[in-house]
């Protein structure tokens, strides 16, 4: 960025430096108090100096609303970026990202997140802690599964998952009541019935976490390290209504097919807290093929109509 930029244009609100071959954006950014939109797509950003140090303390951290860094060379989300607390829209499409940092949850004003066209293999459950997220694009990546916690994104209107490596979806996806768009094409979604019961015994941490949650053991942030406070907030409820239990990472996984009014069959993965827990609508966890399929129909009837309109085959 040219030296003196902030002196000549102190009131700058929108800066578009796309397609200029930039390899780094320096300290000039720190002195632009009114900047709300920064477009820097199709450059050569991605190295360690791409964003200036001290970003978190600059006025930009509060004023910047829109940041477009698509078409650059970022192999990880730069930590400095996560200090932009006022950010509403972030695009890192067409970069070289291999993952999403859990600290993405720091961008608590985020409404629009575009991460399509990277090499992302997994989604951290912390992504679900973005309360205002309306538009999430994860297409053209290498994602193998969606964490069930993603269903906590209550504001989500549009979810783009096409061209990934998904074989099933978590059944909690049906809880996204405001979802209007869902793209799933180009995933190796399981079409035929698969009965797959796997169970990893829970760790001591998980057992302790379950006890704290199910017995409502009171705790305050001062009682525990931050990492454990966060861990406890990621508990998922067992879908068995008679159970009332929770699970963290250890659960039984079972694929059920939900038939949306005869048009689509989406493989939805059910997570249960233990093999003894059966899913809400089947009598036993080891049900026969036809039993499971008809149970699936009952289960889907409420969400089916809504999801049928949403689904883009």
């Amino acid at each position: 960025l040219p030296a003196g930029l902030s002196q000549w244009f102190p009131a700058l609100e929108v800066l578009d430096v796309s397609g200029t071959g930039l390899t780094e954006m320096g300290t000039e950014l720190l002195s632009l108090p009114c900047l709300h939109t920064l477009l820097a797509k199709n450059n050569r950003l991605g190295g360690s100096g791409s964003l200036p140090k001290g970003l978190g303390q600059a006025p930009l951290a509060r004023s910047l609303r829109v940041l477009n860094l698509s078409g650059n060379r970022f192999s990880e989300v730069p930590p400095a970026l996560l200090q932009l607390r006022g950010l509403r829209s972030l695009s890192l499409g067409g970069n070289r990202l291999h993952g999403i940092p859990p600290d993405i949850q720091e961008l608590h004003s985020l409404e629009f997140l575009y991460l399509g066209g990277n090499f992302i293999t997994a989604i951290p459950p912390e992504l679900a802690k973005l309360p205002s997220l309306r538009y999430l694009v994860l297409c053209d990546n290498k994602i193998q599964s969606i964490p069930p916690q993603l269903a906590q994104l209550h504001s989500l209107r549009s979810l783009s998952l096409h061209n990934n490596l998904l074989t099933y979806l978590p059944r909690e996806i049906l809880n996204l009541v405001h979802l209007e768009e869902l793209s799933l094409r180009g995933n190796p979604l399981v079409v035929r019935f698969v009965r797959d019961l796997t169970y990893n015994p829970p760790s001591l941490q998980e057992l302790a976490g379950r006890t704290v949650k199910t017995r409502n053991v009171p705790y305050a942030p001062s009682d525990l390290p931050d990492s454990l406070v966060r861990y406890l907030s990621l508990a998922s409820n067992c879908p068995n209504p008679k159970c009332g239990g929770v699970y963290f990472d250890s659960c039984v996984r079972q694929i059920k097919f939900v038939d949306f009014c005869g048009k689509y069959r989406l493989p939805l993965m059910h997570y249960l807290c233990s093999p003894e827990c059966s899913s809400p609508y089947s009598s036993a966890s080891q049900s026969s093929t036809s039993q499971s399929e008809s149970d699936s129909e009952d289960e889907a009837s409420v969400a089916a109509h809504r999801m049928q309109k949403v689904l883009l085959g």
């Binding site: 499409g93 575009y114 538009y135 694009v137 079409v191 069959r265 883009l312 085959g313």
Partner: protein, 204 residues
């Protein structure tokens, strides 16, 4: 050797002229597909002329009506944000011309699914259409999916449908099952239209 039928070689110098010539062509009883395709392709995209119709939506592509061709055709501009794409769809027995005004669009052609079919639909071919190129499709050629595969550039396309239609079928690629949808306009003649019903399928 038979003399080839003489078709006019038009050159539309502006969007307005394109619309005018289209009205002229469609006033006749017989319309040649090649003639319309050549005309559409001859217009060199000038954003100043169509920017007023190019209204983007954050979540999905938009259809913006430009001209309703005295009932003979619909001319519309579609705006595709990064990653936006359509479902696989048919064209309700109409002719469909699609010209790229900005960016690129990937068109994937599919075979019609078997009547009793319950398997993955067959991909026939795919291509990326560049600026100012014009593609043509109708139901006898097959079905297609159109998508903006760019993660950095939005795309804008100009579509002509004759006769006009407001419903079509969308197809599930994995099973071939079809589903009828209603299509609506995001804007008409440059003015934003409010969508009343939630039943919009919006392929084209």
């Amino acid at each position: 050797m038979e003399q080839p039928v003489q078709t006019e070689t038009w050159k539309a110098q502006s969007l307005e002229e394109l619309v005018r010539i289209l009205h002229q062509i469609f006033a006749e009883d017989k319309v040649s597909v090649e003639e319309v395709q050549a005309l559409m392709e001859s217009y060199e995209s000038n954003p100043e002329e169509w920017l007023q119709y190019a209204k983007f939506d954050q979540y999905r592509y938009t259809r913006n009506l430009v001209d309703n061709g005295n009932g003979k055709f619909n001319l519309m501009i579609l705006c595709w944000g990064e990653g936006h794409g359509s479902s696989i769809h048919d064209h309700t027995d109409s002719h469909c011309f699609m010209k790229i005004l900005q960016g690129n669009l990937k068109e994937t052609l599919f075979e019609w699914p078997e009547k009793k079919g319950n398997g993955e639909m067959t991909k026939k071919s795919e291509r990326v259409l560049r600026e100012n190129q014009c593609a043509y499709i109708n139901d006898s050629i097959g079905l297609h999916r159109v998508e903006n595969i760019s993660h950095t550039e939005p795309a804008v396309s100009l579509h002509l449908y004759s006769p006009p239609f407001d419903t079509c079928n969308t197809f599930d690629q994995r099973t071939g099952h079809k589903h009828k949808v209603m299509m609506t306009f995001y804007s008409q003649f440059g003015e934003r239209t409010v969508c009343v019903s939630r039943e919009c399928g919006v392929p084209h």
